[in-house]
Amino acid sequence: MALAVGCRARPGKTRDNKTGSWRVFKPVFDHEKCSQCGTCKTICPEGCISESADEVFTPDYTYCKGCGLCAQECPGEAIEMKQEEK
């Protein structure tokens, strides 16, 4: 990739930085307990929680830093932080 004039870039390359590698704890989603309130998706600082067509919420573990905010804020306690096996 040629050096951009003036240190500029178009979006996309942050996806090369797989921040999931930062994790110590991993959020595990219990979809049975989930009430589809969407809080987790709204408050994730990475924006990596997506909602499927049938309202199933899943984090993208490639980027999830394991901060625990989703688990902390889920009103139905449907998310648990579990230590990851590396």
């Binding site: 390359k13 090369d16 930085n17 921040t19 408050i43 600082p45 830093k65 901060c67 625990g68 905010l69």
Partner: protein, 298 residues
């Protein structure tokens, strides 16, 4: 209506896990929409989002210097006007860039009345350079340049009242918001963007690294700030407070004891006088803005 499902802040940015500022960036862009040009000041948000060649911003974005975002934005607004373009201009700066080093430029921009929205993500210190004191650092908070020590309780001054200062410039819409209440935040951003003239939204964005708490507590702590009255969520239209978030108030201690930056008020010895002084600040806020929910006693 802005599509709130749009993710305009990409994954792979380098913010700390649980970062209040990163969440603020995401939510602000959701409130603003894709037809937005962002002008950023130097600071955490700029640094963790744009290490060349990676950028997390899916909207046009420009960063110049620490203190001149408002001036750069003034130029962008003028140019768009001359070209007959519709993009909205949103300035994003931390409390350092906004309250302190950027004071000249924000005052000038607001005095001139440019049609822009200024979002200050307030994490209450110069975080990117290593947690130094700013004009937004609360009373008695320990930072590296206002450290608590054997002859100091930390920062000696209360928060500068930036919202009032900008309202005094004639800003048509000024609001405070918090990452604790994302829908409210997005609504305020949308309102600011659609109000002609210079508008200001100050977003409380707790910093786990700088304040000393676990990233998962960011929202809980932001809520406590509001519940204790140390942060008030309100809106001002043409300089008059029109809406305030009311709370059943908790004692400030419940907020202070959650963060390492206030630890010196409890350990090695409980500092009653200092805690009382902070309670007085909260009480004053409560009175000024009328935040207390009056519970009827039977």
């Amino acid at each position: 209506m802005v599509d709130k499902n749009l993710e305009l802040f990409d994954c792979g940015h380098r913010a700390c896990g649980g970062c209040g500022a990163a969440l603020a960036a995401r939510l602000v862009l959701k409130g603003a929409g894709a037809n937005t040009i962002v002008v950023s000041a130097t600071g955490c948000m700029e640094v963790f989002s744009t290490p060349y060649p990676e950028t997390a911003w899916k909207v046009p974005w420009i960063h110049s210097l620490f203190e001149n975002a408002s001036a750069v934005a003034s130029g962008v607004v003028a140019s768009l006007k001359k070209q007959g373009r519709t993009e909205k201009v949103v300035v994003m700066g931390g409390d350092g860039a906004t309250f302190d080093i950027g004071m000249l430029c924000i005052s000038g921009a607001f005095e001139r009345g440019h049609d822009l929205t200024y979002i200050c993500y307030d994490n209450e210190a110069y975080m990117n350079t290593g947690i130094q004191r700013s004009g937004a650092t609360p009373y008695d908070a320990s930072t590296t340049t206002s450290p608590a020590g054997s002859c100091s309780f930390g920062n000696k001054r209360p928060k500068k009242d930036m919202p009032q200062i900008l309202a005094a410039h004639g800003a048509p819409y000024v609001a405070t918001a918090s990452v604790a209440y994302p829908t409210d935040l997005m609504q305020k951003v949308e309102k600011a963007i659609n109000t002609p003239g210079p508008c200001y939204v100050q977003v409380h964005a707790p910093c786990c690294t700088g304040w000393g708490f676990e990233g998962e507590q960011t929202i809980a702590i932001a809520k406590l700030a509001i519940e204790t009255g140390l942060w008030v969520n309100y809106e001002m239209v043409d300089g008059k407070v029109v809406k305030v978030k009311k709370v059943v108030r908790k004692p400030v201690e419940e907020y202070l004891k959650t963060q390492k930056r206030f630890r010196h008020l409890f350990k090695p010895k409980r500092q009653d006088a200092e805690i009382a002084a902070i309670q007085a600040i909260a009480d004053k806020n409560a009175e000024k803005y009328g935040i207390d929910i009056k519970l009827k006693k039977e």
